[in-house]
């Protein structure tokens, strides 16, 4: 019977006994501080790995959704053959469609964009600056203003901070020198924007668009308008902005979700191996002490209980340290890569990650625990 249960049944002063067992647990962990710290750190890295991945996935997707909503549009039109979640890397739609959609009932504003992929997650977006300003309320510049030349572009603050750019800086994108004419507050469609006609020309996509944003007279009717547009323009991928941004979540992206599961699996295996190694060495080092406990009548349950207490303590502290380390990764991302990915603090994942770390650790302690329990007392007592 486990000692906790036996104490409960016998009505013994439970508190003092648990204090004694906890004292032994702390003393054992304190006896090998380097191993204890390494174990905690390894579990913390496991936790940080999961929380950072989940935080970055959520943060980056939510930031994209926020920027999409920042356009002020109600409806998004994408080319045939795409989906809500596929990236747009070409400009197959004619810019005449802007006038076509503008003539539709309830449509009050339409503007088209061209999207040119850059490295990693960055894109250069071509906009009709006047139309976009009317639809979205305009950029709020912290430095400079709208492009006046074809080779001018505007960038948002996080991108400027990450790349150390300001008004007047030059940068090379798509094999061309660009001048920064303005730096704006984030949250408007894209991080790097240029004039629509210029980017169409530079990318040999004159009069072609990647996406079309539509604003209607009554946002509440957006879905009904989408339905009528779909019927009228079959093949085009037409969504309400609300529907489109709802897709920008981890749960909607099967591939990302699966990737997160894979990382969780790997992290759990890492935690398992670390705790297995730590506890296995602990059991080996403490062979004689386990022998002493067995000699004085300690049950297998008590020995297992002590090892599991140590493991649990390592896992709980490791989880706490891991959560703190997540703030460090967040800080690093804000200060060293603000224009790239965004990391959110996803509180609901704290307990989930804690359970993952504790489960992996407890599984890691099973085999060392069985080894400890099966040790022969006389052999253990003669162990040097």
């Amino acid at each position: 019977m486990l000692p906790l249960l036996s104490s409960l049944r016998s009505g013994a002063p439970l508190y003092n006994e648990q204090v004694l067992l906890n004292k032994l647990t702390f003393a054992n962990l304190g006896h090998r501080p380097v191993r204890t710290l390494l174990s905690i750190l390894a579990i913390a890295v496991e936790v940080t790995m999961i929380l950072t991945l989940v935080g970055v996935s959520n943060g980056t997707l939510h930031e994209s959704a926020r920027r999409a909503r920042g356009t002020g549009a109600d409806i998004l039109v994408r080319p045939p053959g795409t989906s809500a979640m596929s990236s747009v890397s070409s400009a197959p739609m004619s810019d005449k469609l802007v006038d076509v959609f503008r003539a539709e009932p309830h449509v009050v504003m339409v503007t088209g964009t061209i999207v040119q992929p850059l490295e990693l997650f960055d894109t250069l977006t071509g906009l009709n600056m006047d139309e976009f300003a009317k639809m979205s309320g305009g950029f709020r510049f912290v430095q400079g203003g709208l492009p006046t030349q074809d080779t001018d572009l505007i960038i948002d603050e996080p991108y400027a901070r990450e790349k150390h750019l300001q008004v007047g800086s030059t940068l090379k994108l798509i094999s061309r020198e660009w001048h920064v004419s303005g730096v704006y507050e984030p949250g408007k469609l894209a991080r790097i924007c240029a004039r629509l006609e210029a980017l169409q020309q530079f990318t040999a996509n004159a009069h072609h668009l990647s996406q079309i944003y539509v604003k209607v007279d009554d946002s509440n009717q957006a879905q009904a308008i989408v339905d009528s547009l779909r019927a009228k323009y079959p093949g085009y991928q037409i969504y309400t902005l609300e529907y489109y941004t709802s897709f920008l979540s981890v749960s909607s992206l099967g591939l990302l979700r699966n990737f997160i599961y894979v990382v969780i699996g790997v992290a759990m295996i890492v935690g398992f191996i670390v705790v297995f190694m730590a506890m296995y060495t602990a059991v080996l080092e403490r062979t004689r002490e386990i022998g002493i406990l067995k000699a004085v009548g300690s049950s297998s349950g008590l020995i297992l209980n002590m090892l599991l207490r140590e493991t649990l303590l390592l896992a709980v502290i490791g989880t706490g340290v891991g959560i703190l380390l997540t703030y460090l990764t967040q800080w690093l991302m804000v200060h060293f890569a603000p224009g790239g990915m965004t990391q959110e603090t996803v509180y609901k994942w704290w307990p989930i990650t804690g359970v993952i770390a504790i489960t992996g650790s407890l599984i890691g302690a099973i085999i060392p625990g069985i080894k400890a329990v099966r040790q022969d007392a006389t052999e253990a007592l003669s162990y040097e």
Partner: protein, 225 residues
């Protein structure tokens, strides 16, 4: 009328398998120990006395023969039953003290009291025993801060904290100088005389054995007549 012996051993054998070879550590041992007796089992290294200690303490099962401790037959006990025997009936004192290095002297004793299911608080008589053992002032210290003699006295306190019927001591003075050896042996004698503690002590030292009521000698796994 004679009382039932607290230890009764009949034709006890213990054979170990070491690689391909059978080692006959005990070859038909017969011994009886009465309650309240202080007996010394004397023998040289390899005589089988430590194996006898291990069997009597329920640390290892006998191969054949019968062993009754406090009326309980060890020969048919399961591991769990032998664990209970060590918890309830037998207390151990080892040559190397075998204290848990991470706990204080006090907690070393308390953990055994806890394992025995008697809570962790010392009662007044046991506090008196601690004073008798001369360790009442050293209880907060870790074993590494105690001398060999003090560690062995803590080990004795630990062995008797649950009031075992039998105290088994395996070379309790083996690691001590002559002054501390004498002190520890006098303490064992005191415990036997004042508390009526039954003690079976394993030793190779005739002088240590002279503290006991009775000595028996072992050689080649057998008690000498």
């Amino acid at each position: 009328m004679n009382e039932t012996p607290i230890i009764e051993v009949r034709q006890l054998t213990k054979t170990y398998r070491v690689g391909e070879v059978d080692v006959h550590a005990l070859r038909g041992v017969d011994i009886e120990v009465q309650k309240g007796e202080f007996i010394a089992v004397v023998g040289t290294s390899g005589s089988g006395k430590s194996t006898l200690f291990n069997v009597l303490g329920g640390l290892t099962p006998p191969s054949t023969g019968s062993v009754h401790i406090g009326g309980k037959d060890l020969s048919h006990m399961t591991n769990a039953e032998r664990t209970n025997l060590r918890k309830d009936t037998v207390g151990f004192v080892f040559q190397k003290y075998n204290l848990l290095p991470t706990l204080s002297a006090e907690d070393n004793i308390k953990i055994v009291k806890y394992i025995g299911g008697h809570g962790i608080d010392f009662d007044a008589p046991f506090n008196e025993v601690l004073r008798l053992l001369g360790i009442a002032e050293r209880l907060k210290h870790k074993p590494r801060a105690l001398s060999g003699g003090q560690q062995q006295r803590v080990a004795i306190a630990r062995a008797i904290v649950n009031g075992p019927a039998i105290l088994l001591a395996d070379e309790p003075t083996g690691n001590l100088d002559s002054q501390n050896s004498a002190a520890v042996l006098n303490l064992l004698k005191d415990l036997n005389q004042r508390l009526g503690q039954t003690i079976l002590m394993i030793t190779h030292d005739e002088e240590a054995a002279s503290y006991a009521h009775r000595r028996v000698h072992m050689r080649d796994g057998q008690l000498l007549p």
